[in-house]
Subunit: 237 residues, 6 copies
């Protein structure tokens, strides 16, 4: 029995609320149960120096948590003077995940920065961030298309992400914090709308896992991402 | 005529929404029109080293803006590696304002950290922060009182803040961004429920102002703070 | 009775010594009693990036304290790796105060950096800094005028600053450290030669103050600034 | 045809040279072809603060590259003032991988720090680091056992790692730099001696991959890790 | 002919003014011609962690330059966020030089920090700093002796320093900035009152020098330090 | 008797192994007994900003130690966020030493960066670094000459360095760690192939030394450098 009484293959309640911030070209408040992330997509007519003059654009991401998004207050990274290792890992993952379905040539020489700020954290902040980021990015691209800044299909497919893990010996979908802190194995899957894999990260801090266990997690993830992609499609429709 | 068509002594629509975050001992989402600040009050059983063993507690504040809270995206302070001068000024102001009505001895040897994170900025983020911070702080103290951690009246009075300025030659209350960027003079007033002054900051980047002009701003502020204190009392009732 | 036996409206002995450093275009060693600040004004033919090409110049300030300017040695900010919040606040205040009477268009596309370094601190370092900074700035502008780099009146008025506070229930002028550490209320006033206000900062860490108390402080400040402006005029004559 | 003319399932020449540094309790110079990493394991009788008094030890890792380990010189991280995101990701991965087979209770309240410094980089530095780190760690534990500091089996199994990728449409084992920079997909597998998975990271910056492709990579990895574990066993014999 | 018309073995006008700062236990304003350094010696009842409980004290130094001590303004190190390499080298040299004649056991478990802040720089700031630092240190130790905090002879000898160089082919004493920037060779000598050497640093950025040239510089230095030690003895008499 | 049983004027076993890294234009693994330093010379077609357009090139150096190069592990500088004072001093010394025999005009507008990374430290890391750096630099210049990038004699002479010290009252050559930590005096000499001096640094942390003692050290150094230059000539032949 999961602490939340969910079935093993059951997502938390997921909502994707668009247009939540006045200034951003795209934005989405994504909720996976009690995990709430505010995502904005900001268009800028500039590029990182190493990309200039190549006829391509760039999509990048930054991630942060409000200090009291967590059970205990964590120190503000702006005050400690640097982003910690976990933050760096997550924002690199979000950026890679989004770029995998964007046609950077079609975007043109511009940068879209996706900011994912966790207002409340109950496990799965990185997967919620990616899932919401795709919505904010899609809105930003629609904003650009409406102004004739881009032509054709810049976004090739949906991108969504979900975590899975082995909790009390059972593979379960979409871990919340209570499960995550107890799970033997934790894996994050980023997948496209057509079921292909963009990124897989499986970690066993406690006990190494077998290939069969991993395949069970991947099957759950495929199901969960399928549902998330449906919700994305409804949200941007 | 103000850009927002408000009367010179008219506040923006102000809302104070409590309990918006699951984990914090106190929290408040404060809105002054399109300026939205998420405030949390976090209780910690620790003190800054210089305060240990003196039988007193401490209240401090941190301030931040989400990168796309503003018209143009601003760089994330966690990524630049330091809080800029404006951030430092504001969080020190919020901390001093709150401490002025807290009985630190009655609080006991504990620290309350108030985090003010601006989700959307349209002028007046520091005054909205202070006004909402008082609500979050009050809730945190109520949380403590309900657990018999404190006795008696720790919070001696209300604290609220408002900006005033001279816009097109006319003293006006509660500047939004359109006014703030054009105002000749900008002043922030932090006051108590009984009308006394905790902090006054008046600045003339463009044209120095006279004592009479300053007194006109103070009169407006007194009126505005009076209204904010009423709203605080309704919120925590 | 004040610890220094001064009358409530009596300044400390103030001296403004010009030309104290060999290389700077303008310099002033300002003493408010035992508070000694070495100020230099440095002309540079460059501008902050955000100001380029707008036909205007810039005046900015930096502030520092020698480690043993104080009763106890404080850590060197160059060694801790950052300027603390108080330093940042003060140098921003000095910069704003000076800019309020400089015609930045008439200055041309150049920057003047005013460095205020406290050799000895006995309260009122920021007000002494501003008062001396005006002298160094005036000398720098005279140096430029003598070389036909500027024409007409770049400096529109004098700027001086003084602190006031309520000490043992009495409003007093120009707090020294012994008074400052005991005062209920502390306010700094930056004013022009014609009596208008550039910046007001009043703070009540202990007890909120009334409007009447604030007006009493402002009246003292006006008197003190008047005397400082006289001394500035004698110094640069 | 691979640039190195290797068969798809062929490792580069791998050597594991022990005892290469005079002072460290364990050390290993690991070579995967032209990728050379110097690994040391350092025993310290101290723990991170959050782990004190829990009867458990800790194993952590740090990773670095000499500035000219690469084709073009890269900036020295000690000089830029921080470790970049890639460095942080890799050292966290190495640490997690090692901890997965260490019995931290049996280790006792001590820390072993594994430093992986890349002398020359030709792709696969993280997998070479993990494979060599296990040897250095084993030697450090043997050093401790010889001094009766630990009893029983602290190291539960071997740990080795290898990269796989899809290069020119074919799944290949142990990518070198020439392949890595062209591969559509890149995956790193960390596995135990008994064939279980500790960590999987698969990334598609260019084209998302299918589950079947991923399984083909995993099969290659299993084969490669098996060979690496044999070499580890020979090295420590 | 030297730019200053001094004889090759002639020092600049040297003054050592004691007691220039109100709070410090020892202080000295040292002038070598137009090079002016304000030195303070601060006693603290604490030690660096690695020295605790060893029955010995410590003497350390910090060095800084005011931004406009130089012909062109240099950036404030507190603002750039770190001390540059030259600053670090100099403050380490000053500390080592002073420690060489202090009986650290006799000092007791305390630290004296000597701050050398250059108000105006015209070459030779490190040698002026050391020479003045000895005076400030001596005064600090006298202050302690007067309070019975130390007994006997803590300071075993005088320490003074001077630069020499080969300018236009001639060995000269006490280089000013005009000479320093043109000299082929630059050497700094730190010596005791009895003529022994504490530190020698000779550098040839342009042309390597011979042993005979070096000995000629050392002979000049011996003469110069002899004169500086006389001035120190007069100053503290 | 020296701990290593060497004669007072006897170097440790010195080897200079070239071409040890695949990518660098020049490289050398230098060993002075148990002190091992990996040196690379990297050519870059860029210059520091202050040197652009002057028709001259630049040679600079960076220095680092692997964390477990030492008896006890030292913290990684990339992780602490800055290079410590000793590192800064040493890399500045290496850079100056190399520049003293390079014809920077003949080098052309390019920069050569010499990285000296200590793999194992047993005293004398800075002198081994300089001695090996000359070999790596020579190889880099040969690489350039072979591609007609430079003409004529860019490297005017050899440069080598050795430490000397007074150990148990006797002047000895090439201190190892056991001697260095006990020596009364420690001096480093950087000299050219023709016996002239580039840099001398003599330090007496414990007891000041006499001129005669210093001359005895210099005589030893001359002998040691002569031998090192012979080895360099053999290495590059």
């Amino acid at each position: 029995m999961r602490p939340s009484r969910r079935a093993p293959d059951e997502l938390r309640a997921v909502t994707l609320e668009r247009g939540v911030v006045k200034y951003a070209e795209g934005s989405c408040l994504v909720r996976f149960g009690d995990t709430h992330v505010l995502v904005t997509a900001s268009l800028e007519e500039r590029l990182p120096p190493w990309l200039k003059g190549q006829g391509r654009g760039w999509v990048t991401a930054e991630y942060g948590m409000l200090p009291r998004a967590t059970l205990e207050r964590t120190r503000r990274e702006a005050s400690t003077g640097k982003q910690n290792g976990r933050t760096v890992e997550i924002q690199r993952l979000i950026g890679r995940s989004l770029r995998a379905t964007v046609d950077l040539e079609a975007l043109g020489e511009r940068q879209i920065t996706v900011d994912c700020d966790v207002l409340q954290a109950d496990g799965g902040t990185r997967t919620a961030s990616i899932t919401g980021a795709w919505v904010a990015l899609a809105d930003c691209l629609n904003w650009m298309a409406a102004r004739n800044m881009i032509k054709g299909k810049v976004l090739r497919d949906n991108v969504a992400a979900i975590s899975c893990g082995i909790y009390n010996g059972t593979p379960v979908l979409d871990l919340d914090y209570a499960e995550d802190s107890e799970a033997e194995t934790d894996a994050n899957f980023v997948m496209t709308g057509d079921g292909r894999i963009i990124e897989v990260q499986g970690t066993a801090e406690k006990t190494p896992f077998t290939q069969d266990e991993f395949l069970a997690l991947m099957a759950l993830a495929r199901k969960g991402v399928g549902r998330l992609v449906e919700l994305q499609k409804i949200a941007v429709a």
